[in-house]
Subunit: 347 residues, 2 copies
Amino acid sequence: MKVTKLKDIAQLLGISVTTVSKALKDYPDISEETKQNVRVLAEKLNYKPSSLAVNFRNKETKILGLIIPEIVHYFFSNVIDGIINEAEKMGYLVITLQSNESFELEQKQIELLLDQRVDGIIISLSNQTKTFDHLKKVIRQETPMVIIDRITDEINCSKVIIDDEKAAYQAVEHLIKIGCKRIVHINGPLIPKNSMDRLIGYKKALADYNIPYDDSLVYSCEQFHYQDGIDAANQALKDHNDIDGIFAITDLLATGAMTALKNHGKRIPEDVSVIGFSNWRLSELITPSLSTVEQPNFEMGKQAVSLLLNEIKARKEEKMIENFLVKLPTKLIERASTKPTVKANPS
Amino acid sequence: MKVTKLKDIAQLLGISVTTVSKALKDYPDISEETKQNVRVLAEKLNYKPSSLAVNFRNKETKILGLIIPEIVHYFFSNVIDGIINEAEKMGYLVITLQSNESFELEQKQIELLLDQRVDGIIISLSNQTKTFDHLKKVIRQETPMVIIDRITDEINCSKVIIDDEKAAYQAVEHLIKIGCKRIVHINGPLIPKNSMDRLIGYKKALADYNIPYDDSLVYSCEQFHYQDGIDAANQALKDHNDIDGIFAITDLLATGAMTALKNHGKRIPEDVSVIGFSNWRLSELITPSLSTVEQPNFEMGKQAVSLLLNEIKARKEEKMIENFLVKLPTKLIERASTKPTVKANPS
């Protein structure tokens, strides 16, 4: 792959290299039109500035910026743990910000981190983020960035995700293997990508085991609260009298679903098996304990820092910047809320 | 109260003001003996440097440092939430570090934050912290500091705590009011102060209701894990056949205790009432749901930032620095694990 240089953009637009450089840095003496043209072309050609420009622009601060949707959250607090620990080991401190699932706050926080001249940014997108100008600005300003968990295809940079599709597949396959045929799927809003990928995994597992997909078995919650799980399962029990399995997109929704099942006199797992997603701390403490899919959350944080520091280093050494997509594997955890897997007798 | 000045220290020791100033700033040309004398006296007189020196020393970074024992922890993640939100509202960013309950790491992290020239530090002490030279250095270097939740009397600065004694009193009083007489107390290591204060609250409630204190009913766990709660309650059931209430120092220990009670065929709350401490998310999800004491964790973070920023401002304006001890009130939450409070009939 040919590396795009400032010169290439300048030639294609018929302007000087200096003008291109100034346009990308948002200098006031360049017209908005020119800036726009330069940006569009830079984006299209996947232009990555050389480290010389970066070194010229600012000195290292040894500080990384982190924007996370929620801190009081078992998954994300583990991710933060992984990030902070790895960063500190490598000599970096981390400024943590919480977007509270607000697109507006996320935009503002990107500005704060750029103003602070952090050496790099790690971000997990808010539920509300559907446009990406603020992230394009990070790329344009030549600040290394890694997006984790809640990602988008619209931005070219390294990303770390859980293999959501495969994880959902594992969970549903487990339900099928213990004999479930009418499996309810309780999920959340299909933006960002995670919910969608888990739905795809659900469908794929059904297809591979010749169980017809029935979209009346899929319930989408607007939030991920305990009560949403109760409501979804209540509705499912009202709509169908033959359900024998529930795959919920989070452990908290699964816990709510279990409460609804109990209130309807359904035995877990004898009548309905339930499996969640995330392996929260509560999952082994509730009765019956909840089968789930464990996500490598600490590892995700660690990998994100490692990718970010590699990019910071590559830029310093004027090496080409490569973008990676790291998909971390998950682990099925069987507990009392699903029937035990039938094991073949040794012969 | 008279404000101590550099001059006072110089006069008392019979050395020059410059020597005192240099000693406090750890200049290499001052002897260790002189430094030691100056430090001891400065400490004794509660010397607080004027803001002029501070302004001279460094410019504002608009960054605060935060050291917390554990991030993946319901209480602390809520505290962090409060701190980050309040700081951001006031125009400050927060570098978060996790001591992992390690004294060694905590010392190193204080150095990192001082090197980074943060405008102020908020810290909650690790379980292992029994000496305080690293914190004395922060005071000496004139960096504003607030200690939260896990505090010490050995350092003069503002502090924010939960009123642990009163909270424990509330919990035990609740058990007494519903008829419990043989109340087990499951606690943790008595350092830092929190466990000790809760034990005092336990004793005080018993005394006020004329129930003799029996130290064979107090079980101290080395850790705060689920299994520790199980072990402590198992031991209590082995030692005593008449217990009718358990007050555990955390919800997770209480949850473990409930599991042990169930395994022994004890009904909750008919045979034994159980109350926890913290109101974790899991507490309303387990069966029976757990009565507990709610701590104002988010509020604690908010108050800490507010105190810290007030001190930063006071120093800038060369005003006198006052130290505050803020005790935040808690709230009793009655759920199914304790018998309902008997209400007098309206007459």
